[in-house]
Symmetry: C2
Subunit: 373 residues, 2 copies
Amino acid sequence: MSQFKYELIKEDKYTHARLGRICTPHGIIETPIFMPVGTQATVKAMTPEELKEIGAQIILSNTYHLYLRPGHNLVKKAGGLHSFMHWDRPILTDSGGFQVFSQANLREISEDGVYFKSYLDGSRHFIGPEKAMEIENALGADIIMCFDECTPYPAEKEYVRKSSDMTINWAKRCKSSNQRPDDQALFGILQGGLYKDIRIENAKRMVDLDFPGYSIGGLSVGEPKDIMLDTLANVEEYIPKNKPRYLMGVGSPDLLIEGAIRGVDMFDCVLPTRIARNGSVFTSHGKLVVRNAKYAQDFSPLDSECDCYVCRNYTRAYIRHLFNAGEILAARLASYHNLYFLIKLMSRMREAIKTDSLLDFRKEFFAKYGYQL
Amino acid sequence: MSQFKYELIKEDKYTHARLGRICTPHGIIETPIFMPVGTQATVKAMTPEELKEIGAQIILSNTYHLYLRPGHNLVKKAGGLHSFMHWDRPILTDSGGFQVFSQANLREISEDGVYFKSYLDGSRHFIGPEKAMEIENALGADIIMCFDECTPYPAEKEYVRKSSDMTINWAKRCKSSNQRPDDQALFGILQGGLYKDIRIENAKRMVDLDFPGYSIGGLSVGEPKDIMLDTLANVEEYIPKNKPRYLMGVGSPDLLIEGAIRGVDMFDCVLPTRIARNGSVFTSHGKLVVRNAKYAQDFSPLDSECDCYVCRNYTRAYIRHLFNAGEILAARLASYHNLYFLIKLMSRMREAIKTDSLLDFRKEFFAKYGYQL
């Protein structure tokens, strides 16, 4: 029997936001939640202990990258991904589909799957639904994804229709080839581009396949924000309330709030760690480029309202110096702070849902952060 | 009155090794000790908390680098180096002399000091004894160094004689221009190349100037190991027993042991963190290049006899993967382990001195490590 369970604790009175709890073989996840991304079996610049310190409940890792390096069989031999990377809390793996398709020049697609060339050495590889399951089963994450085509933006309607049909067929094949349904919960991925009718038909058919959770794919791929949020809202009502919903690739503070308001339970994105390594950090008053010369003599913390390890102990002047000097500690401190900021944001949102005050929370957060509602 | 105090606790029965204790404004240092190097106000890839976790009692930082970037006045404004970098234990700064002189093509030397060009932007700068003291006083380390010329290897006898005379004159000027003798203990640096007579004369004259401690400079600059150790032994007997001795730039396990046996109390070197970033680690059985393909499926720790955080939680296979994938965590884990290895080595040496068993310790360590005695 499946060790995976989603429990809907409470719905917000004024929005579609939900307070929930996901049980997995490696522990419980309070939702809505942001998942830090550990592409190559490490959340860049962070240790697992630091991730726990900032309250990370689950991390995401990438099937495509781990398949190519170090190889899923090596990870399996190490006792699975948890053991390999020394992380004993839940892990989610994607299916590799997104990466395989986003390397547009290197692939051949058929109903079987996708042939592609390795970005590491040019060698030829194939991943289809069955292979994706073989890899994900070897990695052993608590939550795994069906192999899908993430339709690009923009795309012709006819292309999107065919592509989302293929994603449905692949989802069926993934479901029947998942060898570890008891300890690896397989999510279906909703596609359909930005065409409302295709999205709805696709969602209905995917829900008919009865997965333990649903991912919303094909968004956050370059489309305008309002279209993205409309599409999300259209799809959301077709997902059963007793199943968790995961909006893939979203991680900016505004979209985490807007997504939760539209019923999303799980988010992931490389954004916080990627911008951190470039010297940008989130603050209560908006994004700040700490490498800028104007912070050279600024002895205040990155965010004076933040209580994280970095903000308690380091100044903007020092962190700017570290970036200027090319020091590893710069990336460490900025990554730590950015992840803490998003994880704390989600925890504040969960509190707000408890008291039906999420809309007030959004208003206050946006006013301070500098967003327009 | 000076807050600096050295206490000789015990001398080894069979060697010149000494057990001691140094009191500074930022705490006590048990000697012999290895000091991790934090060139640019950070020990590369490490946080101060991690340095404490591995037992680092004091770190070294570089005057030359901090003068050029971010500038000593900025550090002073931040409340000094301890506050700037969030490290509340003792710090030692060098004088900048070593770096100024090792950039041979960019300098003009006179009795006043040295004109040189910044490696960052080519701008022209001057450091002499008084300027070095101004910078070191602004940084505010607990132990500071006189401005000296580190004579290169090889060097003509006449050059070395003149250079070590100049270093003596500079030491006098440093002593009289140190504005913070109470909370910044100024060490004299012994020079004299590899010429025994110059070394001895230089040591006598430097000791006559009565510094609270003495550094042994001009060694570990490319000369054969036996010549270095002989020179060290020749000089050591001229340093009063009630003063600490610091052998500059030495940090390989064999030389830490040989140095302590010859009466050295303090060591520093970038070696452990530098080789770590290149994928090399110390182990009880010798150095190991963990990036090598032969460790791809090696699920044992870096050093099975080590009890550090890294060895308790990660495998060679995982760390090799991190290096292959260019992940920051690779440098973090290898640096952590290498520093722990040397700091633990010093602590074991202190234990051995207590029981007069340092020679036995050396024999056992070398046999396992693969050194020839």
